[in-house]
Subunit: 140 residues, 2 copies
DNA sequence: TGCGATTTCATACTTAAGTATGAAGCAATT
DNA sequence: AATTGCTTCATACTTAAGTATGAAATCGCA
């Protein structure tokens, strides 16, 4: 949310600086009846560069913002609690129930319970389904 | 591989057309001592637009190419054959061995064999590990 | 303080996944 | 003709995953 504002300000400043420079060039060289083709080329080149920078910036920003939004919204919709969400992440990283139990210093049956509840809330019956659904919802 | 070429050609043509238009404007209005600020603004605006278009195009192309490259390169490195790669995709979509067998009109033991060979080649022991590794390698 | 949600663990069971081994047909290559 | 790789299937076994049920401790909130 903070980045597009920064981009806008930077772009505005850049435009202002360029405007001043252009005015300067206009009255010193161009009106002094120098080659206008050169002047045109310079303007075109500079603003092509500005455009490229703008295009790339805007394109990248748009993609980042989308991801962060869906994250928390769907988490509340599914009503996953902290442990379940934590375990979902470990499942997606390819860990087995036993490995998860070891990492979290918990017993295997505990993990199984969490996993089972997690599946119920997500509406799936296996880890691969859970991973796929979580990915399609951009939870992970 | 065909697209960057197209972009280059289009950009070249656009530049040529703009150059001709600019020449036209130069000698009809500008040298006719009309307002040069307006002329400058027009040039700047047009080329900013061109730049944005170029920037977005190039950025998107670069991302696509990267994915397709790694795709085939690592595929050869792992020496996965067609069936194995196909089944890897279905596994990542959350399907069970039985579901995969039904979809491909094959027997369950056949799928198990492919899956087992797939794991050997990928250096994993479970579907979740395979999915995670495939994702980290941008195979899927 | 009582209640709901969270978190933990256990036991028992069914089903799916994963491994090993063998085998057979088929296509392409040497 | 022989070899190599791909694809298919089978059988048998071990292990992990998933389900169901019950229970107990903890924590936040009304």
């Amino acid at each position: 949310m903070t980045r597009p504002l920064l981009t806008t300000i930077l772009f505005g400043l850049l435009l202002a600086v360029l405007a001043i420079l252009l005015q300067f060039f206009e009255y010193r060289y161009l009106v002094g009846s120098l080659n206008t083709s050169v002047y045109t080329s310079v303007v075109a080149t500079i603003f092509t560069g500005v455009g490229i920078w703008l295009g790339v910036s805007l394109f990248r920003k748009k993609k980042q913002d989308k991801q962060e939004q869906v994250d928390l919204t769907i988490l509340r919709k599914l009503k996953l609690n902290q442990r379940e969400y934590e375990i979902l992440g470990l499942i997606a990283k390819g860990f087995s129930n036993q490995e998860i139990a070891d990492q979290l210093f918990l017993a295997l049956p505990t993990i199984k319970t969490h996993v089972s509840n997690l599946y119920s809330k997500m509406g799936v019956q296996s880890r691969t389904q859970a991973i796929h659904k979580a990915r399609s919802m951009r939870l992970i």
